[in-house]
Symmetry: D2
Subunit: 369 residues, 4 copies
């Protein structure tokens, strides 16, 4: 009755570690990429069972080790608290799995560098979901900068503002330095900001001067809080451009306010995550707002535009594209702009520089690598 059975050439088999909001986002993306959702693990067998049930995973493993020992799993998604990333990622790579690990990749540069080297040694795909790279208009911004449309970079203005910790009683495992690591706001969201800024500008931050603040020394489940709510930074980039970064998780009214603006000798460009379908293109003689229209985008942006102009794309679409590209890399292709462990390491390095500058009350140089 049917002419033939068609199956994707290489259906990947994915395992999901963790069961929170990000695990759900990863699972949706893996399903959209036609993976087989082999199973999940969490901090306990019960939690794994609950997550597998909610997310529609094929099986619940008793432990992370059990999952990693399953030869039927090709790729592991790590969606657990920050301080556990490095150990799980190391174990996964050593088990021969490809890895998609949530940011921050690690809580120290040493760990992040070791993981990056390990992935390279083993020839495994190891990616970090700097998901905002996957909005078509972020790609469009990068393509325009790369082809010289904005000219020599002069200034940058970046911000990542949220308010989910704005109330004194707001709390979360991230507030706990044991789980979250030595940096909170910068590691959690500043890492996205610097990744996107360097990705779009094609330039590295070479020097920075930061102030940090911990606004609430105690929250509902934590006292003597050691990590920062808020960071203000002046940066210098390799071309000599200067600029400012503001990162806060206590900025009332901002839900996920990630924005970058680059001004160059020939033009400016601005991307805002909460309005991801457009770019502001600043020109001395006639600025404009460019709406996502696949017909008018650079190839690397157009390929991510799954629906026509006027049909908004959003966060999950960007995440789906990230996972699809990571899977394509596993499948042997080399998708442009896939954030790999080296990019995760870069963000950890900048986070350490921010903490060091605030501690020393002065400028800190940032190594390029």
């Amino acid at each position: 009755m049917t002419t033939d059975v068609i199956a994707p050439a290489n259906t990947l088999r994915a395992g999901i570690i963790g069961g929170g909001f990000m695990a759900a986002v990863h699972t949706h993306a893996a399903r959209a990429a036609r993976a087989e959702l082999t199973g999940g693990a969490s901090s306990s067998a019960d939690r794994a069972r609950d997550a597998a049930d909610r997310l529609g995973l094929g099986a619940a493993f008793d432990s992370v080790d059990a999952l990693l020992a399953d030869p039927g799993i090709d790729v592991v998604h790590i969606c657990t608290p920050n301080s556990t990333h490095a150990a799980i990622a190391r174990a996964a790579l050593e088990a021969g799995k490809h890895v998609i690990c949530e940011k921050p990749l690690a809580t120290t540069v040493t760990d992040a560098a070791e993981l990056t080297a390990l992935a390279a040694d083993r020839g495994l795909v190891a990616a970090v979901p700097f998901v905002y790279r996957f909005h078509p208009m972020a790609r469009e911004a990068r393509a325009r900068v790369a082809r010289g449309e904005t000219g020599r970079l002069l200034s940058v203005q970046g911000a990542y503002l949220q308010d989910w910790l704005a109330e004194p009683h707001d709390d979360d495992w991230r507030v706990d330095a044991e789980l979250g690591g030595p940096s909170r706001a910068f590691a959690d969201i500043g890492s996205h900001l610097v990744d996107l800024l360097e990705f779009v500008s094609g330039e590295r931050i070479v020097r920075l001067n930061a102030s940090t603040r911990t606004v609430y020394a105690a929250r509902s489940r934590h006292a003597d809080i050691a990590t920062e709510d808020l960071v203000a930074v002046v940066v210098e980039l390799e071309s000599g451009a200067i600029g400012t970064l503001l990162v806060s998780q206590v900025a009332a009214g901002h839900k996920n306010g990630l924005s970058i603006e680059l001004s160059g000798a020939s033009g400016s460009i601005r991307f805002e995550q909460e309005r991801p379908e457009q770019l502001w293109l600043g020109r001395v003689d006639g600025s404009s707002v460019l709406e996502r229209d696949p017909a008018r985008l650079a190839p690397d942006a157009a390929r991510l535009a799954l629906v026509p102009a006027g049909h908004p794309m959003g966060y999950q679409d960007a995440f789906n594209a990230f996972v699809a590209d990571a899977y394509a890399a596993i499948d042997g292709s080399a998708p442009d702009g896939l954030p790999r462990f080296a990019d995760g390491l870069r963000a950890v390095r900048l986070t350490e520089a921010v903490l060091a500058s605030a501690a020393s009350d002065g400028w800190v140089e940032v190594a390029a690598a």
Copy 2:
């Protein structure tokens, strides 16, 4: 090694008819809803094979009849040209399949009414993707109107403006009255507009007066074009409210500009599809823009909000929600706001009224049912 295997209670098996852009959108949504994508059919076996390959469907059927004859298929998605909807939907219902049929459900009120009755007789779920109902903020608007926040309705302002037919050479099967039916712009997008307007307002249009224009009498593959590019309408609603509708596919610069604004005795409310994450709430004493924040939404809106505030949702997310609700209905639940064949019929009835008004150059009453 694994504790147990978990499978969704009722995995639906879906068939996709058609292979164009909308078939892809339906397929993504079916996959997100964890359906088994059993197979597809199209206007030829070759096209079916191509679509099955692209979309990742399990099988390619030689014909629509072959697909409908497969007892393994529970639900059929009809994504073919307008004039074929009625016959395929009828056959599918007669084959005992649940049906999701693209709008317009039919090109005549008679056909649409017959299909609506048939689905009821057979006890099958029969839905039409009036997808814009599934943006959380469209639901929020409806909930606020329903609980009286805007008061007695006084005026409405609706528009659906596109430009994909703005150039004289732009062409498509929709321009052909044989395939597209007797109305073009209104059937294609005006149907979404009146559905959303009645859905959000909770009121019916009872009377209308329309002008239509066919701007280009010939396009690249069609001469003597009989269907309209453009419609302007004055409407009266059951409460006595009056308003205007403008529908155009030749409005340069508008990609998918669907918007509705309702003004009542206590407040106004505005939803724009191209900015689906917000509502404008007009008040004499302090208007505001409400951003989608699940914590602040009515239950029926919050349940559709899959990601937190500040993480944009888009068109595919809305479509996924529509299909998930249609599948839930098949599974026995009664999701609020699912657009069924009766709603498809309603849109056809209003389309016929628009054509009748333009032809008679005067007001036309619209039956309530």
Copy 3:
């Protein structure tokens, strides 16, 4: 000590009739245009004295007749209730004064036509403050349409929405048909809308079909209210374009929401009075928002741009430009786009057509003149 005394060649001497908000706006504009504010009159000598004091007028006249009899006054600004406009304007013209008369020029076409003829006979400048013509970006829109940038006109979408009568108790002399005339919302603000639409498009409305509503039959000081709060119209223009107009003074949240959008075969253009410093330019291939930058504007727009780009201009600036142009006309020049009594008559004619259509429940033709 000083090299010489410099005086404007022709300092006009202006008289202000009325003492409300609009009288203040006229006075500010006359002062900015370097007129000598000779004096004012109102409905009583006491009110005249109060107004002269508040507004800084040179003298308070006992009556309108007394003011008109003063040979030292060159130009009279009429800022009184609608139903008094015609008689005062007639007396002023007969007294040989140039006249600036608030809209609506008259409450009947007959009166408006007579005044228009009288001004022509006497060779006097007679202007009506359709002030929104004097935003640089409204001029820019008109210039772009006139030079063919938007192509053959296909559709129009206009609205003028306010909420100052949205509460049942809101009241004003305008609600009283004796003072305000037979039309309320349309005469008061619809007149601005149709003037701006015809001014920018360069086309006349030739046919229309309107519904009107009086939402509150009684307000705090009026019962059996005869005039409309709300009007919805379908229009046809001389080129064959169609469109919609919505006019309301009961649209909660809208303070002064005048907007027009024209879509032509080559592009669309949109002007919103509440954002008067920009135009939306709709294009199939790349829409943009044009900000007011004198360097980039058509000459007739640039001449009205008194401050550089980025320094917002507003309502009083537009009013100042209107009065400056009216005074320039009195001084013998012929400024482009000055709204004269013929334009005031045109708006009255369209207002009568709207009332006639609503009364007859059908289409009404509108004479071109």
Copy 4:
């Protein structure tokens, strides 16, 4: 014929020094405030005559000294290049004139402090047009912060971005350190930014760390340019809040992009000069955009709102309000928020701190006074 002659109690007689764009802005404002425009002076008698003619001043003086020697002049507006401000202001005060002096008040803290003391000694009104304080919504922001609506201040984000020097050939006397002084971008526009930030927040910057850049070392008429195009700063305020400032005159696409955002423990507030009719009010639970509606504003904001909601106010309106308040101070009242020489001094002090930080590559403390 007239009942009586009414004259403003105290008509001020104003003199205008300088003849450029700012002189025109000051003149419009003086005229709106019903001053007698006694005369003007400039760098030569010819230029004075030209300016007097264009601006409608009563007389052209041969020199600044001649103007200052005229006993008929009450108040002097200084609109000349930066480096001349201090000497002219000193001479004017010594001549017993009230003074309105363009910013920067002086090019050194020493001069600015001396002038501030001199004005106090003589009991003369001495004001600096930090005009952005006079937008009603800037006042509203200040009032809301002052009454605790935003809570303890946590972070600030300020920018003043322009592009009028973005092209390498763009040039002006400001580029010349002899005329413009040792700081360019920060003295010219950064001074407005820090004034507005401290005015609205009610807090002083106590410490800062700045980077500066001179992008073009040569322009059309200048080589070896010594002053900065661009400044990036991290600031700390007296409450412990931190934040960033970015000031640039080479930011393509920004015409007059002054913006400040304050985030406090209870809410955020944002004012943008290019959209001066609204404030963004950020809240964890429901942000909003507050449009200027006199009925809803704090008294100090409402008194500056000359036209109703929905009728945009702009730059000249703000300037008119500044001059009206300065004149009211001369007339003996004490208008809230009038920027006086002490405020001019404050901006000079912060400018010096920025230059010192950039020179020393480290943090600089800023004296409170």
